[in-house]
Assembly symmetry: C2
Homo-oligomer: 438 residues x 2
């Protein structure tokens, strides 16, 4: 059978990796897919660079439109990133009857519903394994591997940059700013690191996972997102003393009142496998009602790990493209006419446990005042540590872990506690999840 | 669309779980599969029990032949286990044009090649996610998620019973015999635990994973298999002191001389994620050339975790059964006409590191004698600990970790060391793997 023809939009890091992997493992990939998979055409603004990567038997153009409209191209890989141009090109490719493979999490989280509808209408596939957690086949696990299950929750370390920063802060006792600079030097963080450290990138990926886990539309605008910039060495150390690690988690959970969708620093028991995922690595725990907790771990970024997912999608599309569209794996795991309208729970309504650090003047009564406020709001304390004041200081840190409480009650408690006469400085609040497999 | 009709052979633990999961999650499973999946017919020797589980709207029979020949049944789930009867029924189901789903690792590892050939000929699917690592979708990860990669090696904790025993031995300092009895009481080990503790069950699963990772036929008879019955508390403790954990691993690795296929207790660095997989849980590390190391973790046995995989296969077959057979995922991941004849490396030729424990008479010269033997055979030492003799004892334990050496050289060294005058008792040898993601 003749090879399937692929057009590649963008030969940056992932594009270059895709080209390299396809070429190096050509023989095995062909044995798996049943036919060859060949990149025939590349579009990139930097034609020189593209030509260098592609060699002489690939058509190189500066105009991506030529690729998405070329009748010989059967699959288009979109690795341009961003919203406007990428979206236009994807829709044009779909309109021209091409299957599309993308790593563009931002675009899918914001406009996925529209893109999948267009693909559905044309009977083509949009594959996006590379959009979440780099090389980890988590989309496949959720859409196909765990189809027996009612998914209860997902919790994932899905941003390598922030996991690297938190790992280094804990391991070496460094400040956030110091490690961020180091991460930028190592190429783990971008010059403008906002997307990574403020949790936005994680929120994109979480949006996609929630959609396919629960059969809901993409709702990026409803994700509660809090980054890691305010975490201190002290909180990381206190958490450790209490048997916890702090990780930036993307969490989505089914509750009777709605679906939780949140990204924030989280204390998790140090003994959990996911608490021991260090550096730039990613890991996702998926809890299903039948299977229990399963975990998927691997490189969440980088040229070849991400290319691993792009090429897996190429093989999938090659294997599946002759199948009746109604019998393919649905884009969002569930049949599109049956998407659920379960509401997303506002953050105020979320129930979880909390780590609270309060800096108080070391005088009798401080603790009594605080615990009274908590009791009044129905928040009960699971563990408490009061630190000895340092030599010559009259302030001490009190650290509390609460039982499960509602976010709005904790917010109210913090507001009241801040006004207490013996309180000084701000109240640090970090959410805490047991991630129990029960 | 009308539901797809399923026949179930055997309603033991997994069969009952499959029935329960399909029923409980019917609505979501239908939304995923695009049509209903209904068990219409059950065969079990215990008709009474089967009827109790199935209710009144399912046909119950004592004769499995009625199921595999029934023209209304489209998919047969084989959960009888064993070789002869299960194989006959599977082949008969295939002959009758039915897709087959099985959890029968022993049968596939021994006769998979024949069964897949029959299915290939008839254009039907044989799905077997439940055969390896219970609820973990590892078959899907290998056959579909990592298709971009040249798989370099796989190392897995794929037998929950032995992992439970090793975890308890380490955690509580108990002997193998004590924990085995406890495992039997808890239902984690069978009355005759041979398959689990001697590594045979792990060897079955490893055979299947190696086949789909490397595109080779099933070669169960070539797996080197060594169980955990000879492990002592002392070795577990010494390993711990050196920064290692002992796990029963199934390892398959591509080398220039052939494919390694081996199950044995293995020291692995305690910091590795897989070293922290405790109790009856399973985990598999897969190293691909593009993606690097990925890890898959979850429940490796039990009614509902295994049913999770059986039902995922049901959804897969339902989604895929109208597709052109040549475009489905190949049974063994690679197109069957292109299976590789790479040889399996004999254990003697395997190269790995070793933990050696030698009990010597505490006199000058013992260590010199031993190190000379090792040096003569080209085995170099990475770390060594000599224990102080206990009060009143004249024997001491010497523990050595070697660099990578060839198994036959280590065998020869051990044979020579045993004959040294200052040696007493036997030499304990446990293999050691770094499982580095590099």
């Amino acid at each position: 059978m003749k090879p399937i023809n692929v057009g590649l939009l963008g030969v940056g890091t992932v594009g270059g990796g895709t080209f390299a992997v396809l070429k190096r493992n050509q023989e095995e990939i062909t044995r798996r897919a049943g036919r060859g998979i060949v990149i025939r055409m590349i579009a990139d603004r930097d034609i020189e660079k593209a030509r260098k990567i592609a060699g002489s038997d690939v058509i190189v153009t500066g105009d991506a439109n030529e690729v998405v409209t070329n009748p010989d191209i059967e699959i288009v890989i979109e690795l341009i990133g961003g919203y406007t141009v990428a979206k236009e090109l994807m829709l044009k490719a779909i309109e021209n009857g091409k299957h599309v493979i993308t790593a563009n999490k931002a675009l899918l989280a914001s406009h996925g519903t529209e893109i999948f509808a267009a693909a559905q209408k044309k009977g083509v596939m949009v594959a996006f394994e590379a959009a979440v957690a780099g090389g980890i086949p988590i989309i496949k696990a959720l859409r196909e591997g765990l189809t027996a299950n009612r998914i209860e929750w997902i919790a994932g370390i899905i941003n390598g940059t922030s996991n690297f920063i938190l790992s280094e802060m804990r391991d070496k006792g460094l400040t956030f700013d110091t490690v961020l600079k180091q991460a930028q030097k190592l190429g783990y963080a971008e010059a403008d690191p906002t997307f990574d450290i403020e949790g936005i990138d994680a929120a994109h990926k979480l949006t996609i996972m929630a959609a396919i886990a629960f059969g809901i539309p993409m709702q990026f605008d409803k994700v509660y997102t809090e980054g890691i910039t305010k975490l201190t060495r002290e909180d990381i150390r206190y958490a450790e003393e209490l048997g916890y690690r702090i990780k930036l988690l993307g969490i989505t959970k089914r509750t009777p009142k709605g679906i939780e969708l949140r990204v924030h620093p989280t204390l998790i028991p140090a003994r959990r496998l996911i608490a021991n995922v260090e550096g730039v690595m990613n890991a996702i725990v998926v809890k299903g009602d039948a299977v229990g907790a399963t975990l998927y771990y691997g490189a969440g970024a980088g040229a070849e790990p991400t290319a691993s997912s792009v090429v897996a999608d190429l093989v999938d599309v090659t294997r599946m493209h002759t199948a009746d569209p109604r019998h393919r794996v649905p884009h969002l795991a569930f049949q599109p006419d049956l998407l659920s309208n379960t509401p997303i729970l506002p953050m105020e309504e979320v129930e979880t446990s909390y780590y609270l650090r309060l800096r108080v003047i070391d005088k009798p009564g401080a603790l009594a005042d605080i615990t009274r406020v908590l009791a009044d709001l129905g928040i009960s304390i699971d563990a408490m540590v009061q630190k000895e004041p340092s030599e010559g200081e009259d302030q001490v840190d009190i650290i509390m872990l609460t039982h499960v409480a509602m976010e709005k009650n904790v917010n109210a408690a913090i507001a009241r506690i801040k006004k207490l006469p013996l309180l000084t400085g701000k109240v640090t609040r970090i959410r805490l999840e047991q991630l129990s497999s029960k």
